[in-house]
Symmetry: none
Subunit: 234 residues, 4 copies
DNA sequence: GATGAATGAGGTTTCATTCAT
DNA sequence: CATGAATGAAACCTCATTCAT
């Protein structure tokens, strides 16, 4: 069994190597231009190896996407769990970890972007993406509904969740497509402020300009936002 | 010259045919799976023709994207011009036309999505996309700044513009990736409400007429106004 | 239509080129060692052309076999028709043309041999082969039955047809596998003598040794035989 | 030495395993589609093992063919020896064992067929096949010559041997390619009758017992005797 | 100007063989 | 001695592009 276990471990390691190679290759060359050759080169392995560990290129591509999804999910869960049970805090934590991931793993983000662009025409990827998104949105909706309940505020949780989720995705998309337009921190702040405003919580730190805005009654400017990564995660 | 003009006209027509074929092919098969063959089939033309009108496949792809961009730009300008000079009305009109396009031309939207997914690795497309985005965001920023000025409200125009623009993109992305999660009308309403809330304008009747609507006495934020979506809508 | 006709003609010509290339390649290298490359080289065409005219390599291989079958069939029919209606003469003519083909087109014969060796594992080829064989055997059986009737001789036509057909195939097989063991003329004479003996007809020419045999009463030594090519033909 | 002997034994056993695996694989999948993987799977051994016991795949293939050839040879010799010295009885016994093998070991037959189809392009296999055939034909020729001598009949032994040998092969080929056209028993009867007719021996009881049958008073050709298959059988 | 036949580069995949464990 | 992971050659096929008609 020790041998079998070791073997299994090696197998997992090689699969990881190939997945990482895929991510590196796609990040560097794009989805189309990534060939079995570039992927295996990036993984430091020989071309034929892909057949040992995956059904083929498509399978590997899908698994790489699945890996990114799983990792984002895990990271977000951990961050959310760490802040306790308060729904707003959870949302804020999720938002933060989402945009942190943007800076920390732009490579992964680029792959995510590339996958968005092909998913509609790759049934399995499409399905995975939709499942993910629905779970994510429904989690956001629950959090928002709970937070509103706690505060005795009326919020259309569905619409708020949509606004949040799509804003986050939009910020991801925008930053991946043009990293100079704004920073992930900008995005994070805007979304977090939007969340706090939604529940009438004050902003924490003086946020660029906004803090200078007259505190009108309900200046709850909505800035919709949603974690790209979150979107891809839960 | 008449002959030359006619020729030019034919050339333009053929180019259009090929561009439309490209759009149809990408919408149906995705970016990767669209070949010169599928494109020309979709255009009802023969395979070799592409060389007469474009430098090659890549060029055609780029031109198709350029065409979509140009058309969207034009439509938006027209809608904005039609609504007069009021910045908020202009933003609302732009929002509306944007989401109307979603329903009216899902095919084009899918192509847009596909192009998003490859643009970072196609320098010319990337550049085009960035130019477009920057112009768009700066226009939004100006409109927001003007609208705020008119109302004597202090708004961080840059952040608001980012929030607006990325929310819109996020809704596009989400709807193209999963058309069942919400409707373009949902998206439009959420974004328009967000805009009105930003300026303390009350939500109103079906936004569809909003563009033509007279600027009523800004009834300011409705009651708690903190509901992302007020009473009406889903 | 002239253009369409010409095009069709060209298409047929290219298909023929590829089929001939296939035959030459298989004859020279065997079935396994024939690759798209060797086939196209033998045809004097480029590698990619195969996709224009056939579904793929397998399709081409099958068509090449079909071509050999069709040609053998045609040649045999023509030879049979040329000798009139007498069943024995028809059988003799078929036998002759069969073994003539052996000498005239050893290349085609080798391909036939190669196909025999793979047919059981290539459903379409197998089916074609079986259809062919059955039609051929039943024709032989009918001829034998008629010839026997004419002479008032009792012959088990089914068994005689089997003996004839398999003897011919056996001679083909043997000669293709070892061209030095006997000549096609040897084979032809043996089979023709067997046929004549079956119906009590005298042998035409003094055939090696056999003619010297004592004309015992009914020395109808059966030598079973069957045209390989015939077997593959009708 | 005991150890060395044991080792040798294991080696032989493994080689046998691989040879059997080869036969099973080829019978199931054909020559082309049999890979080292399928062969080792069929043998219940691991892929790399082939290198320990054979020079490579080609060598294994050749050895498998050699094994079939050797076994057939041995079986035939044994059957022939068992029947005594009478040449005709020997031929009948050889015929019988040949067609018995067809039914008893169709798998082996299929491999034989597959090898026929590649042998001309595999020099070593070709050579083996030719040696085998020549030895076989010359043995048949000797038997026929002896039987004719014994009876004072003049027979062209070479031609008769060719007819016999190719008829047998033809029946094998036909049955392997289409097992529904006739049974090996049909083939055996036809060939045995042909042999008996050649020497003016009457057809007799079920041939199955023929090998053990005492040489009865050659009742010479039956009546017209020109029926390929007398009264009995199908 | 329009067509599609022809080319050949390049992609994915399979496979025989080698070799470390 | 046995295993199967690793390699890289080579096969098939697709496809963008060119060019004669």
């Amino acid at each position: 069994m020790a041998i079998a276990a070791k073997r299994t471990k090696t197998i997992m390691a090689r699969r990881q190597d190939l997945i990482q190679g895929t991510i590196r290759s796609i990040a560097a060359l794009g989805y189309n231009n990534s060939t079995v050759q570039t992927i295996c080169d990036a993984a430091g392995l020989s071309r034929g190896l892909i057949g040992h560990y995956f059904k083929g290129k498509d399978d590997l591509l899908l698994e790489a996407f699945r890996y990114l999804v799983g990792r984002a999910d895990e990271e977000t869960r951990k961050a959310v769990r760490a802040v306790g049970d308060d729904p707003l805090q959870r949302l804020l934590a999720a938002t933060e970890v989402t945009f942190n991931r943007a800076s920390d793993d732009r490579e992964g983000g680029m792959v995510w972007l590339a996958c968005w662009g092909v998913a509609p025409w790759v049934p399995e990827m499409h399905e995975l993406q939709r499942k993910l998104w629905r779970r994510y949105r429904s989690w956001v909706e629950r959090m928002i509904a709970q937070a509103a309940d706690q505060r005795g505020i009326k919020v259309d949780a569905r619409r708020a969740a949509l606004a949040y989720a799509q804003m986050v995705d939009g910020f991801w998309l925008g930053w991946l497509s043009d990293r100079d337009a704004y920073t992930p921190e900008d995005a994070r702040d805007i979304v977090c402020d939007w969340l706090r405003d939604l529940f009438g919580e004050g902003r924490k730190a003086p946020v660029r300009g906004a803090a200078a805005r007259k505190p009108e009654p309900s200046s709850k400017a909505k800035s919709p936002a949603r974690k790209v990564s979150g979107g891809k995660k839960t």
